[in-house]
Symmetry: D3
């Protein structure tokens, strides 16, 4: 039904009412007695932007998220104030992270987390740390990517991949042919070099949008893959 | 005609033949006697990726570039090895840089250049430096964005915008509510704050993909807006 | 029995035999199919140092650890090659982290993690991240300290405390009276200022010894407080 | 005529009257509707220092500048408040940049720009970027030195020279014999090593004096060598 | 006598009366006409912490300091507000810096100064700079450790040791097996690697406690070993 | 006599014979048993550049140095391979450091040392550290400038001056009108602002030439002003 697609997104009100349960701030040492993630599913960003009506494509996509993940990732709700922005983000994200590539999905998530650790991005570390834990079926690998990927026991291939991604994050102006050659020596094709660069680049974008808006991750991520 | 859209992009061969004119390397002090930009329109990136057949949408888009700009920007040719990547990039770029926004097109290009200067990205400084020169009808403003935006005589609004974008580039983990509040005090709406963040984020992505692949700008940019 | 105390520490062999279960490295994408923490309880540091016989005091202390925690923290096993070093470390640690102070135990652990995040120390982030989760009864607060303490919803007191500790970690030469005054304005006494400084200082030491020796945290920490 | 040489420099009044043409600030997006360089030939620095009478030597030198360049570089006007400072600056500059050396004039200007790019000095990037464009007869080489010398296709000799100059700029305390040896292996004599160091050093000085005083480049530079 | 040990430390009043000799601040260019170290033996830290009664062990230790050094180091007086902290500090310090080790006492002091130079810690540079001068019987070696250890003519062993200690100070997260291997190649045992790490770690702690509290070195250090 | 002035400088042979006294390297822990400054008066730089005949002006200047200081500073001997370079350096140095100025000579030397500390330049810290000690008649003030000027008890004027000079050294691109205004509020004229900038700039040059050439200070400096 046409009217349906104009309906504002019910689950994504960015300025939700405060929690109903009254909390005495003095009852715990830290501020939010209900837990540090208390508001993270309610007030998703620091910006006051009303959700726009979902397009049919996005409505279907959100439904698919609910079915497959059990929830709509907050980053999608944050983008939902403007359908063209949401759709462009979803298209790019899905191509980079889910489409066929010489990099496994786990490898792409490892890049996401190592880059986000360099940029100390809370949203992306939580959401993609969970992805590493689940794809690797290894909770500790997720922690290592968050804390210091250099401490992980990685294959030479993975180490070369993450060194490139993190140097590209911290000092992009110093990347040169020798850096690409190291990737090739580790077995990556030129198409893989693009994908490593594009995933690292994408999270350098997302980290900054998340940090700029104080974007909060769905609290459910914290328990995934443990 | 369906076959047409499978045709490889004629103008975007990423591994073009070397220049026919023989050049004596000793005839000038620097390496490329034919000029530092000699190969920039021929060998667009350091990666060996064959162009894919353009989709009809992209074929139309490239044609529109030729008509409006007189050329297809090299970044598009670089992405043309994979249509889904090209289409997602084009969709996001056009929404961010060309769609209606509380930020003028010039302001968005100023952010692009100030961010690219922080990341010392040759491709983006050349291409978007030209855009600033042309949109502002002021060649010197373009130079200032490339060299040090703090040396420009900016309005308070523009200065706040660029300070936010450059801090978000250099230390995204230190952006907090006070940074957003400064933007609001300078007259930006929350929607504008998103756009500043998204443009800054986008060039943090593009800078890295360009640096990772040694992407070369079309030589025509250098003369634009002078 | 006197002879007992000369007995080498049975549980802390720093060069233990490799895992008995044969693992095919190709069966998973990352190197250690048995999990990224596979060796962390077996080979505690990268140094080949034989455990010394525990002194009675240390034997009692290790027993107390087993009883209270269920295990001996690997940092203690790492120090156990030299009893004077172990005893001095334990004395300083217990005074700083467990003795009465104007700072709660949780606050001291929050400093430990925020400092260790600045130094990207895997051992300390794992061990003290767990401590924050348990003391706060809030898993997410632990994640926030690891990922970016600036993203946490902290009291003014806690924020001032962590800002001081992290500045002292990153730029100790720039700490001046104004920094101490901010702590006093947030309600800290001069004795508290010492304790904040001493805890931050201590983890700047421990982080470096752990990083220098590739110290591995007990794998049990990962599951604590979740 | 003796009296003449006491005459204050007519062309170098550092506090000139404001532009006569009235400008509506709202007529363009950026502040100076007359262009970002509008005041650069009028108010040369942020300091209020009256020009001193030129000595005969300096009067002759300024005349020579007018004849050869068509203008007196603003840096000379900025120094003209004190003849001993101006004369010492001119003597050092001319020896370093114009006297015989194992380095070509273009090479010395390339060092000037690469160092100034590291220090993001607007004055020096404009003035010496123009010099590179003109000496190389290659506008793009000038842009590359401003934007990221690592993106230029340089000879091994030029690359070694600029790597040394930029490391000396960013981390002078880490220059050691191995750095000098790399220059020697690239064909530089010990006298050339001095000259590379002295030119890099000189622009580390000039960059800072220009930045400290907000020194503005003659607007004519922007059009040179394009 | 038991009562004695409860007596507050007479020589360590952290809030001593101001100098009796009146000083005209205008009589010299800098603030403290009586010398830049004027208050350093009187007001030891910026914190207002009363000395606690010395334990017998600490009373004996302070007496030993007076006998052997001629004074009690100010760091000990600063810790004397809390006996458990003082005793733990003394135990750790004496083990690290004075107990038998594969590193000579001079080598340990060289590490102390090189680390303190990286952290620009006034207290530790003064106190341990003096120790290097005296142990080496070479005043200039002390200056070199303070100013830039890379400028000293060191043995390969010493250079490897200091490079490790300073990298561990500046970028602990980047220390890896190759760094340890370089130490081993320079002749250090795994036990020596621990000691280098532990001394470097200890001064990363002490530097921060000293900087956090504005701890002042005994003025006598300045004249030692000259 | 004309011939005299062509005579190569006798005291400045940059490649002097090695010390005649045989030294057993094993007799001390560090490499140069004769002291860390053993060669500093003999082999002044790492470059093999023969001294040129002194011009009469420079011969007179060197004689004046011998008479007033008791020695010729090694920096002058290092420049003596090329008279135009030596003369330009001397002219600029003498104007900046010795001519009348709103800054006292001590203040100019304090800037010299604080800048050289930021750049960790051994030559300049030794030579100008001695100058601060002597001009202030306060050895400790010299140490403070070398170690961390923020730890010195400075007047507001001196602190503002050094903060400006050190920011100009570390981040010249961030100096703006507010920085100059702070100097003016502290009582500095615009002419003083120039002098602070010019002295800071000059040592940013000298530090780099000294570091690039491994220039060694005269050993006599170490004992001056103690």
């Amino acid at each position: 039904m046409a009217g349906d697609r104009k309906r504002p997104l019910k689950t994504a009100s960015l300025r939700a009412p405060t929690p109903t349960k009254s909390v005495s701030p003095s009852s715990k040492t830290h501020l939010h007695a209900a837990g540090a993630a208390a508001d993270d599913d309610i007030k998703i960003t620091a910006l006051d932007l009303a959700s726009a009506p979902l397009t049919p494509a996005m409505e279907a996509y959100f439904k698919k998220c609910e079915e497959k993940l059990g929830f709509v990732p907050n980053v999608l709700k944050a983008y939902a104030f403007a359908m063209p922005k949401l759709e462009a983000f979803v298209a790019m994200y899905n191509d980079l992270m889910l489409a066929p590539s010489g990099l496994s999905k786990l490898e792409r998530e490892m890049i996401a987390v190592a880059v986000s650790a360099q940029n100390r991005c809370y949203y992306c570390l939580v959401a993609h740390g969970a992805a590493v834990r689940m794809l690797a079926e290894d909770a500790v690998l997720g922690e290592l990517m968050v804390m210091n990927y250099r401490s992980a026991r990685l294959t030479e291939r993975q180490r070369a991949m993450l060194d490139f991604a993190v140097k590209l994050t911290a000092q992009p102006w110093e990347i040169e042919e020798e850096d690409r050659e190291r990737l090739r020596r580790a077995g990556f094709s030129d198409s893989d070099v693009w994908d490593i660069s594009a995933v690292a680049g994408f999270f350098n974008m997302s980290n900054r949008i998340a940090s700029a808006t104080d974007m909060r991750p769905n609290s459910v991520y914290h328990r995934q893959g443990r």
